[in-house]
């Protein structure tokens, strides 16, 4: 009987636990998590917006651990791994021995070194359910919110709170909102819809200092142009960093992220890592795929994990939907094709007959093939005249054996 221990109950940790249970029905699978409840980080705004409760943002059933006979040790943070004795240590004096270990600690929000920001008790991240709980508490006392960063996380928080009547100011260092996913036009559409809902944007400007009260709480953010913005609390959405402390403290190779090989093995035998903490990608589907691949390797299936293609996202704010795949910023030597109507905006970046970036704002139905075209580098040079109307019919093929589709190129 083997003992599998997983640190973390996010997308990677939970998907790994499921796969291990499926492959090894009789072995012991244990998940140790700082989080009390399993929750989808991508759905925290539903909780903060009071649209759903904690169970409503659980991405597996409430009976997941019981049903799968998986031990869940919650509210405990692993402090140290003794890789020689193959044991993890957590809590006051608890330990769990393992035969195979998976580190799936995810990533944590990052606070830039702005004076007072790192110490102030009213500066929150928006990453875990515990962050959302703290914001909820703070919101009961004051409704003026200052959000640093207008990426998906910042806008998620803004959309949730403005529905509840918050007075929101969002500062973005870049000259437009959601700078990684948009171009200027798409950004202007989102900016307007947020402004129509009462949010205020400060673009191309950052916070450089703060005024604090006697308790150390920030009462005013001072911008780089000297302007003071009064606020009740601050949400940091200026990026995340892989959580690697446990690896650093345990002699597992890590720099900015935990180093893994093509089978998601770390530098220490029988210790694997998956998800955000590997730094390979920061999006949900890749964390799920890594969790599954790592688990299969832990279970003895020799499976290579191909490098993920991390540039992909969708957004849906106030019913404005957008799909953004590939690199919209790399346009040197590329053709930029644009299609614009009153209800739709599409943009394709094509280089050497291959799609390298695609943006669609409006109805994004049936758009999945664009990600595949980019990821697989499929030659579309003969199809540029209908680049915005491509469907699977243009690449149609059927796998005769199992009846699934297959690209024929």
């Amino acid at each position: 009987m083997e003992r599998f221990v997983i640190i973390g109950a996010g997308a990677a940790g939970i998907s790994a636990a499921q796969v291990l249970r499926d492959f090894r029905p009789k072995d012991v699978v244990t998940v140790i998590s700082t989080d009390e409840k399993v929750h989808s980080r991508c759905m925290l705004h539903k909780y903060l917006g009071h649209e759903r409760d904690a169970q409503g943002i659980n991405f597996v059933g409430a009976d997941f651990f019981e049903k799968n006979d998986i031990v869940h040790i919650s509210c405990e943070t692993v402090k140290r791994i003794d890789t020689a004795a193959k044991t993890v240590f957590f809590g006051e004096s608890y330990s769990a021995p393992y035969d195979k270990l998976l580190i799936a600690t995810g990533s944590g929000f990052f606070i830039p070194p702005i004076p007072h920001f790192r110490e102030a008790p009213n500066v929150f991240g928006f990453r875990d359910l515990s962050d959302a709980l703290k914001i909820d508490e703070a919101f009961a006392k004051g409704r003026r919110v200052f959000i640093v960063g207008s990426g998906l996380v910042g806008l998620d928080a803004a959309s949730a709170l403005c529905e509840r009547g918050a007075e929101i100011t969002i500062a973005e260092m870049a000259p437009r909102v959601m700078p990684l996913q948009t171009d200027d036009y798409a950004a202007s559409v989102y900016q307007k819809v947020f402004e129509d809902h009462g949010c205020k944007f400060l673009l191309g400007i950052g916070a450089s200092d703060a005024v604090v009260d006697e308790a150390g709480n920030i009462t005013e953010v001072i911008l780089s142009n000297g302007e003071h913005i009064p606020c009740d609390f601050i949400i940091m959405a200026a990026g995340v960093r892989p959580r690697i402390q446990i690896a650093l403290d345990s002699g597992i190779a890590a720099e900015r992220a935990i180093q893994v090989d093509g089978h998601l093995r770390t530098s220490v035998p029988d210790v694997y890592a998956a998800g955000d903490c590997t730094g390979l990608s920061g999006v949900w589907p890749d964390a799920m795929a890594q969790g599954k691949a790592a688990a299969r390797n832990m279970a003895g299936v020799d499976e290579a994990y191909p490098k993920p293609y991390p540039f992909k996202n969708t957004s849906n704010f106030f019913g404005v939907t957008m799909l953004s795949v590939g690199r919209l910023d790399l346009t040197e030597g590329a053709d930029i094709l644009v299609h614009k109507t009153p209800t739709e905006y599409k943009k394709a970046i094509v280089k050497d007959g291959r799609l390298t970036g695609y943006l669609s704002l409006g109805d994004i139905s049936n758009h999945g093939l664009y990600l595949h075209l980019i990821r697989s580098g499929i030659d579309i040079s003969g199809k540029l005249d209908k680049i915005f109307r491509l469907t699977f019919a243009d690449f149609y093929g059927i796998n005769e054996k199992n009846g699934e589709f297959a690209y024929s190129v």
């Binding site: 997308a11 989808s40 980080r41 991508c42 759905m43 539903k46 943002i57 659980n58 991405f59 597996v60 059933g61 949900w284 589907p285 799920m288 795929a289 992909k312 996202n313 969708t314 957004s315 849906n316 019913g319 939907t321 799909l323 795949v325 109805d363 994004i364 139905s365 049936n366 758009h367 999945g368 093939l369 990600l371 595949h372 469907t391 699977f392 019919a393 149609y396 059927i398 199992n402 009846g403 699934e404 589709f405 690209y407």
Partner: protein
């Protein structure tokens, strides 16, 4: 486990399958093609018959893939591969309408609902005892339910 097998060469492009899908999933309580509002986006079909540009037709139906891109990307748990039936089940209550599934399906099957609060894809007509309406509507047997 069952899958709708497709033989494109047999398809005449009559779109009876498309109408049958719309009829099977209409939410206005009515029955029968004569009262089906073909222009209402709420009645959109989950299958599509597209031209191959050479006089032939290419049916695009959800494959309920063995390793589904859509379920693999779902961050709410709304899309789940059912290991017993083989179908990719969808729970609209759980869905957060993030549309990562739309992005992930390499065959471009999932669609966005008109109110942008749900996704739309084939549910294998699990509400009908007799199975998928599209298959029964096809006069050419270009689509057929088979065991896999």
């Amino acid at each position: 486990m069952k899958r709708i097998f497709i033989e494109p060469a047999k398809c005449d492009g009559c779109k009876n399958c498309t109408l049958a899908c719309m009829e099977s999933h209409r939410e206005d309580g009515g029955r029968g093609l004569y009262t089906l509002d073909l222009t209402d986006p709420a009645n959109q079909s989950r299958n599509r018959i597209l031209s191959d540009g050479k006089g032939g037709y290419l049916p695009i139906f959800c494959r309920h893939c063995d390793d589904p891109d859509c379920a693999g990307t779902c961050m709410s748990g709304a899309l789940v591969k059912n290991q017993t039936t083989g179908l990719v089940d969808y729970d609209a209550e759980k869905c957060a309408a993030c549309y990562m599934c739309v992005m992930a399906c390499r065959y471009g099957v999932p669609a966005v609902s008109p109110d942008r609060k749900r996704m739309i894809k084939c549910d294998f007509c699990q509400h009908l005892e007799e199975g998928p309406a599209c298959v029964r509507a096809c006069p050419k047997k270009a689509i057929e339910v088979r065991e896999v």
